[in-house]
Amino acid sequence: MATYVLIVDDEPSIAMSLEFIMEKQGYETQVVGDGAEALQRIEKAPPDVVLLDVMLPTYDGFEVCRRIREREEWADLKVLMVTAKGREEDVKRGLALGANGYVTKPFAIKDVVAKVEGLLT
């Protein structure tokens, strides 16, 4: 079974680039641009990895992360925060909420790839 990556970002161009990169690695991908919608997708089909933006309509990335971690059945689900806010407190906050790692925008492709691979092993 192929690895499934859910990409959550409201910037279409960024989502598009991440989609290309992940598919290039042979992962299945889905893209959503809204926090609430992302949670609905996870409910339907839990991904292996969520690439989660922070600034989102409805629920922001932190809220999405918190709600994921509330659910025991999603304990194996890996969350990688992808945020333009590379500020220390944002990183800390995300990790405290149960995110498994983070990359900051603008990102290097190999960095994102390595982090996702690291989460999957």
């Binding site: 409201d10 910037e11 960024i14 290039k24 809204d34 409805t58 806010k85 500020r87 990102f107």
Partner: protein, 949 residues
């Protein structure tokens, strides 16, 4: 036998010499080099106390009653040590209060009362005029005796009184002395009423009279007899003289001595001339120290030969051909010693003139300052208040007073001539000035003494004095019926002037002194308790009673207090440490072992410790409060009114001080509040700046991320299809455009905020601008199938005044905002223009999801993303609406948003008509916009979903 003309010439020469001395003294004083600034001159000037009464009269009294003449000198001698307390205090007060006479002194103490000053003056004049008369009489008599001796007829006539007025030597003496007194005491005016030249002359006269008296005494004792032993043993052989040599140890004699001693004690303090030389003319307080023993020494010397001369006179003139008062002069004449007689005459002249000059000067000052001037100043018709220079008038009054006093004295002398000995008249004068004692002594040491007490006491005492002393003397002089004295008025024995209320057995002087002082003092104390002092009296009472420095206060604490009590007090106000230190120092000075427990209970606090405690407390709570607090443990007297006033004063000052502090505190608080507000504003601005920067960087990162990602993708994937490559490149270009737009808008906003907007104002048609803006957006909208309608069709609503480019920017921002948020599939935008009387309104409406109420409030803030973006790929800086708002406000227009539920959002703005305003001159609310509603600007944690415009 001496020639009258010779005596006259010598006397005039002597007076000339005195005047020269006085003149020299005044000149030196003016030059600042005083010749009287030595305790010796001061002590000699005090000897003005010894008048012709001493010089001639003591011998007379000794010849008739023996040793009791000494009482007049015993009093001052006994009192002298106390001068350091009493006279020094009077000197201190007089310097502080610029006192010019004893009347001034009393008036000043009791609230600067003119009535009291006038009363004292009247009492002094009435009391002293007979005394001056007596001096005139002494001079004329001595002149007659010296020039006519041994002509018995002349001697008799000297005591007679049948001489016609023009032939009366005393008249010429009076006029001559008036001239000299004017020259000595009223040549010019001195603000301090000090007469250095006069004092110098007086001192010289004191020396001369002492030398003259000692000379005659030595001559009599060692010339006529062979020393004291010979003289006294000769006298002892005469039965009639034995009484003079013994003191009768009876109660009445003892009483008489006590009364006379007391009388002279008061006289030395309160005789106007003594007050003049001892207080007013005092140059230096320290001179008192020598005066205290030099003056009694002088008295002893001048009295040394009184009894020998009296005894010798009685033996030489047993038949009474020569009055005892003239023994001093008659003995050298009888013994053929004209030079010595001349010296004696000059000595007597010195004694008399010194007294006359000083007393008259003092009286004239009082008459002028305390009697005439107050009346003149109150007589409005004279308009004296308006005159600037009163010097001439004052000198005139002063000189007239001198002449008046001397003529009055002469008249009195004529009236009672021959009926009284020198000493008797002198004692009556003493008793008159003794009436000042309650008011002055009370005033110096008793704060409670009031004006009413002083005035009525003095008046009553004066009346009793007049009734018991001068009135009977008039009767004895034959001017009143003698039955008045013997039987009392209308036969009322209780009112007999020499035995008032049945008091008998006292001499007339002692009797009069007793009653007058009793009534005077009683009224003074009684009325003082009954009446309330005025404010001026209060302050004056304090100034007088507290005139000497506080150091004497230590002695005030006479009560009992324990060290423990004082410790508690000190601890309460100063704390444990300071209290312990103070007490340990005290214990050390007392040699007490402080390691022994309970020593504080065992040892009573002494005055020094209490004083020390008071001083320590005064530092903490003020002197008045300290005094009260210490009193509370010292079982002291109850609070005096003055002390209460003092405390009130201090409290008042402290309250004023506290009010001032309160006011300052309030001002400080206000300033602090303003500072805090300013600081909060600055912090807010700082936070906004931080938010702005972080939002801007975030907005910058987003396109950068896309550009970076796709560049890398294309770099790493050379095998990409041409379509994919094309698509990715388009993304890169679009994101780059977004980046550029963002940067431009940030710069725009920065410019708008940094400086007043410069509008290029011109009349323009909004309809044209709307069309241009719609045209600019048309391609973009067409691509997205968004339909934009401008209503109403046809010509616009007229012109407005505005900046074409700025207004177009507003419309572009609003249109692109509407474009972004209008419905995804069936996007519609409506632009409506409405013309009104003084403005044109433009509405830009979309059919998107609308904006909720909360978001509407802050929609114009920077980077406010209020609603989820409807159109994918539409992006903005978050600054468009902010910029639009700035521009419209600068045009004096209005901009707002409305969003009825389910109807999308409508942004509206107005621009005034052409004539309505001149927006360029108005700096407008430009800088305020950023902080107008700062609480909603970019608040962290709020869901930021998109940028608008």
């Amino acid at each position: 036998m001496l020639q009258g003309s010779l005596i006259l010439a010598v006397a005039l020469a002597y007076l000339g010499l005195l005047f020269a001395v006085a003149y020299y003294g005044d000149r030196r004083a003016d030059a600042g080099r005083s010749i009287i600034s030595t305790p010796y001159v001061y002590a000699l000037s005090l000897a003005v106390y010894c008048t012709a009464w001493t010089f001639y009269g003591s011998v007379g009294r000794a010849a008739s009653t023996g040793l009791d003449f000494l009482t007049i000198y015993l009093g001052p001698t006994i009192l002298a040590p106390l001068w350091w307390l009493i006279v020094r205090k009077m000197i201190r007060i007089s310097k502080q209060q610029r006192i010019t006479s004893i009347a001034d002194f009393v008036a000043s103490r009791y609230g600067k009362s003119a009535v009291l000053g006038g009363t004292v003056t009247v009492v002094a004049v009435v009391g002293i005029v007979p005394y001056i008369a007596l001096q005139l009489k002494a001079i004329s008599t001595s002149f007659t005796v010296a020039s006519a001796y041994p002509n018995a007829a002349a001697l008799t006539s000297a005591g007679g009184g049948a001489v016609p007025l023009v032939a009366d030597t005393a008249l010429y003496v009076a006029l001559l002395l008036a001239l000299f007194t004017v020259l000595f005491g009223a040549r010019h005016l001195d603000a301090t009423e000090r007469h250095e030249g006069m004092v110098a002359a007086i001192a010289l006269e004191s020396l001369v009279k002492l030398v003259a008296f000692l000379a005659v005494g030595l001559f009599v004792t060692f010339g006529l007899y062979e020393g004291f032993g010979d003289l006294f043993s000769s006298a002892a052989e005469r039965a009639d003289l034995q009484a003079l040599l013994t003191l009768e140890p009876s109660a009445s004699v003892f009483g008489e001595w006590v009364w006379l001693t007391l009388l002279s004690m008061l006289a030395i303090l309160f005789l106007p001339r003594q007050f003049q030389v001892a207080v007013i003319e005092n140059v230096n307080e320290q001179h008192l120290k020598k005066g205290i023993w030099l003056f009694p020494l002088y008295l002893i010397l001048i009295n040394l030969f009184v009894l020998p001369i009296a005894l010798a006179g009685m033996m030489y003139f047993p038949d009474g051909t020569v009055e005892a008062d003239m023994f001093v002069l008659a003995l050298p004449l009888e013994s053929g010693q004209p030079v010595l007689a001349l010296l004696v005459f000059i000595g007597g002249l010195s004694a008399a003139t010194a007294m006359v000059i000083v007393a008259t000067t003092a009286l004239a000052t009082m008459v002028c300052n305390d009697l005439v001037m107050p009346v003149l100043l109150r007589t409005k018709a004279l308009r004296l208040q308006e005159r600037t220079r009163l010097t001439g008038l004052l000198l005139g009054i002063r000189r007239s007073s001198i002449v008046g006093v001397l003529l009055l004295s002469f008249a009195y002398a004529r009236l009672v001539e021959g009926h009284y000995t020198l000493v008797s008249i002198g004692l009556i004068s003493f008793a008159a000035v003794a009436q000042f004692a309650p008011a002055i002594l009370g005033g110096l040491y008793w704060r409670r003494g009031t004006h009413a007490g002083a005035l009525w006491g003095l008046l009553a005492g004066f009346l009793v004095w007049g009734y018991t002393l001068p009135l009977p003397s008039l009767a004895e002089a034959g001017l009143l019926s003698p039955t008045f004295v013997e039987m009392g008025p209308w036969g009322w024995a209780l009112l007999r002037p020499h035995a008032l209320f049945g008091l008998e057995g006292l001499s007339p002087v002692a009797h009069g002194l007793f009653w007058s002082l009793l009534i005077n003092g009683g009224l003074y104390v009684g009325l003082s308790f009954k009446t309330q002092p005025t404010a001026v009296e209060h302050s004056q009472a304090r100034a007088f009673v507290d005139a000497l420095p506080v150091s004497s206060r230590a002695a005030v604490w006479r009560g009992q207090a324990s060290v423990t009590e004082l410790r508690q007090l000190l601890q309460r106000f100063l704390g444990y440490r300071a209290a312990t230190q103070a007490l340990e120092r005290f214990a050390e000075s007392q040699g007490i072992n402080t390691t022994e427990p309970g020593w504080e209970d065992a040892v009573p606090a002494n005055a020094h410790l209490m004083h020390h405690a008071e001083q320590l407390l005064a530092g903490a709570i003020g002197s008045a409060s300290a005094h009260v607090v210490v009193s509370s443990v010292v079982n002291a007297e109850p609070l005096s009114l003055a002390e209460v006033m003092e405390i009130l004063d201090e409290t008042q000052q402290m309250m004023a001080h506290s009010r001032e502090l309160q006011r300052k505190k309030h001002a400080l608080e206000e300033a602090t509040q303003r500072l805090q507000a300013a600081n909060a504003q600055l912090q807010e601005l700082d936070r906004l700046k931080d938010d702005f920067i972080s939002t801007v960087t975030h907005e910058l990162r987003t396109p950068l991320t896309s550009i970076r990602a796709f560049s890398e993708i294309m770099h790493d994937n050379p095998d990409l299809s041409a379509e994919q490559r094309q698509e990715f490149l388009e993304v890169i270009i679009k994101e780059e455009e977004r980046l550029t737009r963002l940067i431009n808008q940030v710069l725009d906003l920065q410019k708008l905020e940094a400086e007043p907007m410069r509008l290029q104002v011109e009349p323009l048609s909004l309809r044209t601008i709307v069309n241009e803006a719609v045209q600019a957006m048309s391609q973009q909208m067409e691509n997205a199938s968004v339909v934009c309608t401008v209503q109403p069709p046809g010509p616009g609503p007229g012109t407005v005044e505005g900046d074409r480019d700025r207004l177009k920017q507003v419309l572009l921002n609003l249109l692109s905002n509407a474009f972004k948020f209008c419905d995804d599939t069936d996007g519609r935008i409506f632009v409506t223009l409405r013309g009104r009387a003084n403005e044109v309104q433009v509405d830009v409406a979309d059919n998107g999801p609308g904006i909720d109420r909360e978001a509407r409030a802050s929609i114009f803030e920077r980077f406010q993303q209020a609603r989820p973006r409807a159109r994918a790929g539409a992006s903005g800086s978050g600054l468009g609406l902010t910029i639009a708002q700035r521009i419209i406000l600068e045009h004096d227009g209005d901009i707002w948003v409305s969003s009825p539920p389910g109807e999308g959002a409508t942004f509206s703005f107005t621009v005034p008509r052409a004539q309505a305003s001149t927006p360029t001159d108005d700096p407008g609310p430009l800088g305020d916009g950023a902080s107008a509603t700062p609480d909603t600007a970019g608040s962290a944690g709020s869901p930021i979903t998109s940028s608008d415009s």
